[in-house]
Symmetry: C2
Subunit: 251 residues, 2 copies
DNA sequence: CGCGTTGTTCCGTATTGTGGAACAGTGCTG
DNA sequence: CAGCACTGTTCCACAATACGGAACAACGCG
């Protein structure tokens, strides 16, 4: 064991409990003042603590950064990113990552193709679950009561082609659930088609969706649906495996 | 600077970026394998990393614990707790802490008096803003558009005495805003009275509320309102000062 | 102004952290 | 099945790094 490291973490624990100056912290961890000052200076250097009020110490941004690096959302983004990039490299259309957020899908990442005629950037935006493939693959696995509540609410029609009839949606979701993917043809926005598949966590729950979208005039190419579908499903499964490796302790 | 500490944090950063075994991590930080193994063993000892899949390392629960110790909600709970305890010690009634959560107040902490005839525990529950003093002191400082939207919605009457008339509420909120506290007499639940004052953060925003509540038959005692009010207002202000000391960087 | 307290810095030294090497364990291939 | 490559674990001699007492500056209070 490395003593200085253990001492530093004891200091970190006390600082987190109650920010203070060097002398008080030293008393609380029962170490000499100069030792504590030196360790605090080093902890400051690595952003684990920061100064306030002249010479008082509190936890610094480095701890939040370490924690954020393994947060569930960031885990998903990091796990999915290389697979989004692979999809774009092969299919030459944009690929994105969506998370469920209440009754909506929120887009949290996107990799763009180098095609000059593109669809706009969606990251940061939201869409109703029923109107986009990413939403459909997640809705397909909602418990009955939650799905009933959703379908009993207002179902926005974003284009002429958005499916808003609850009965038709139920039947569709049943197919989506069995197939493990969903296509949407100009249902969210005129001129945009897309296909999505769910990312599953270690317990098999659908926790996010990977999708590929493109302008309707060229996507999907004639006869291209099966191949594109397969690739998206594979990419989502691979992202799920990567996600498993990254996940925080369940305890 | 303490070299071993800096090395340990370099390792932590890499582990957070991508969990791995000793050899890969050592390559990434460009240190000898045995040094990295020793530092990882120590980081494991302090819960900063943990093992998975036999001999792979990832960030451990200690980082989340450090981070949680300084989260905004926990900051509030920790800052307010001693003041809740003081209030209970003096007034011999329960004191609680409420946070705004959308259109509701959510109770996140409570200290109980030792009086044998008590009001039930509210921690973890929610209440509509307009029906409880804690909500009123927060509503009183909402921007006009948000307040308009709230008052234009459904205002639940929880008892005969709950004020649900928007005009009466507006006038009341004006008084609450000027006074800096609010009393509620059997408006949330029959037989329960309470008084609340806002906790303000470093910028002067009302971010939470401290309240004291008791059975209506004995609280407030005759003539006791002014003194109780003053104590609650003081406690909330003191909690705000403590909160300031604990707050995370704004960056 | 004197005093007590906190924060900062320095320096000699010994203790603690180091890193190369040995070895156990594992998986893959011919 | 044996050999090989690779990873993870442990040990030990030693020197580099971490240590802590002491000096001193700064600050607030009576």
């Amino acid at each position: 064991m490395v003593q200085s490291l253990e001492r530093a973490f004891a200091i970190l624990g006390e600082v987190a409990r109650r920010p203070a100056g060097v002398t008080a912290i030293a008393e609380r961890v029962r170490l000499p003042k100069s030792t504590v000052a030196r360790l605090l200076a080093t902890l400051e250097d690595v952003d684990a603590v920061e100064r306030f009020d002249g010479a008082h110490w509190r936890i610094g941004p480095g701890v939040a950064a370490l924690n954020a690096a393994v947060s569930p959302e960031r885990n998903l983004i990091v796990a999915a990113r290389p697979h989004l990039a692979d999809l774009v490299g092969e299919l030459h259309e944009d690929a994105g990552l969506g998370l469920p957020d209440g009754n909506e899908i929120r887009y949290v990442d996107q990799v763009e193709s180098d095609n000059p005629v593109q669809v706009r950037e969606w990251t940061g935006t939201r869409a109703p679950m029923h109107a986009v493939p990413s939403g459909l693959v997640l809705l397909a696995e909602w418990p009955d009561d939650a799905l009933d509540a959703y379908l009993g609410g207002e179902l926005a029609a974003l284009t002429r082609r958005t499916v808003t009839d609850p009965a038709r949606l139920r039947a569709r979701l049943h197919e989506v659930c069995e197939a493990g993917y969903a296509w949407g043809l100009e249902e969210f926005a005129e001129g945009i088609d897309s296909v999505a598949a769910p990312i599953r966590d270690a317990r098999g729950n659908a926790v996010a969706a990977i999708h590929v979208h493109g302008p309707a005039y060229r996507f999907p190419p004639d006869g291209g649906e099966p191949r594109i579908t397969a690739r998206v499903v594979e990419a989502a499964a691979a992202a799920g495996r990567d996600l498993e490796e990254r996940e925080l302790p369940r305890a």
